[in-house]
Symmetry: C3
Subunit: 128 residues, 3 copies
């Protein structure tokens, strides 16, 4: 590959935006410059906290696989809990989910969530 | 262009930080590595929710134009509502604003906002 | 350096993930593609708001130094206050901390924080 082609490749790789599951309101995942960003809530938003956390983490795994990346390459997770009293429940499942030595940056605060949602996670993962 | 110059160009493009509207407390926009980040609240923070959402989306358009980019290249919007009951009002205007097939990743939670603010959006857009 | 080595170097620089202070639940800092992300809460979470803000800003300085970067290269700070009434206290210390002409993008909302925490900051800084 010559320099000019490489320049084109780097620039196009940098600037390209890839989306998965694009609807009228949001895209399920948006990928740009080697980073994928998405928001995860439990498919069954009426289930209890344990089940919602379990579902969200499983859904993150599914998305990571779809993106060709893995838990080891998650950069940051911003967690919103409807009730901070659920933090121990979250952490029990979370600590088991995290790959030892490869934990992402994480924040967890309480915020108002839609309907009966107990947990919402903003995920950022490297895909490059 | 030779390889060495290209290396310099790529590195300088990567590392440069550009700011717009820098004050003592924050910059209106910060651009780095092809991504612009900014926070938008309504200029008239005393208006009702519909008007605040309308203003915020219009202000995003203005910033996008100033950055030489567009709605199609918005990567993620984190929305804070002072009251989740305003979500239908938000969504009515939001769904009209989104470019079909090019929706960003989006999260929307309820959080306490300053004064009479009803909505606050953190926007991330590609500018490369 | 030839083109092939440079390609390898750029790609490895892009894709490499570096972590600092990795525990079972999170990493203190995660660095990828020239951007470091981390979450800061006061080491003494039982102190008053002034002291917690002071500590958080000092801890950010320590992390910036450890990363070989500086306040001038902070891109965005997302601030969660347990009580928005503490915003004037935050701003007094914040405005003094910000480097004139180099302010980051900033958002500040009220959210529920763990235990006696008064402030939590999500920091993003350029390290390239």
């Amino acid at each position: 590959m010559n320099v000019l082609n490489f320049q084109r490749e780097v620039r196009s790789k940098m600037s390209e935006i890839r989306r998965i599951g694009t609807g009228a309101r949001w895209s399920d995942v948006v990928i740009h410059a080697g980073v994928a960003r998405w928001v995860e809530v439990a498919e069954d938003g009426k289930s209890d906290t344990t089940e919602q956390v379990r579902q969200v983490l499983a859904q993150i795994d599914t998305t990571l696989a779809e993106l060709g990346t893995s838990r080891e390459r998650v950069l940051q997770v911003m967690i919103y809990l409807a009730d901070l009293a659920d933090a121990p429940t979250l952490n029990r499942l979370w600590d088991f989910w995290v790959v030892p030595g490869q934990a992402p940056s994480r924040a967890c605060v309480q915020a108002g969530l839609s309907g009966t949602l107990k947990v919402e996670m903003l995920v950022m993962a490297a895909v490059d």
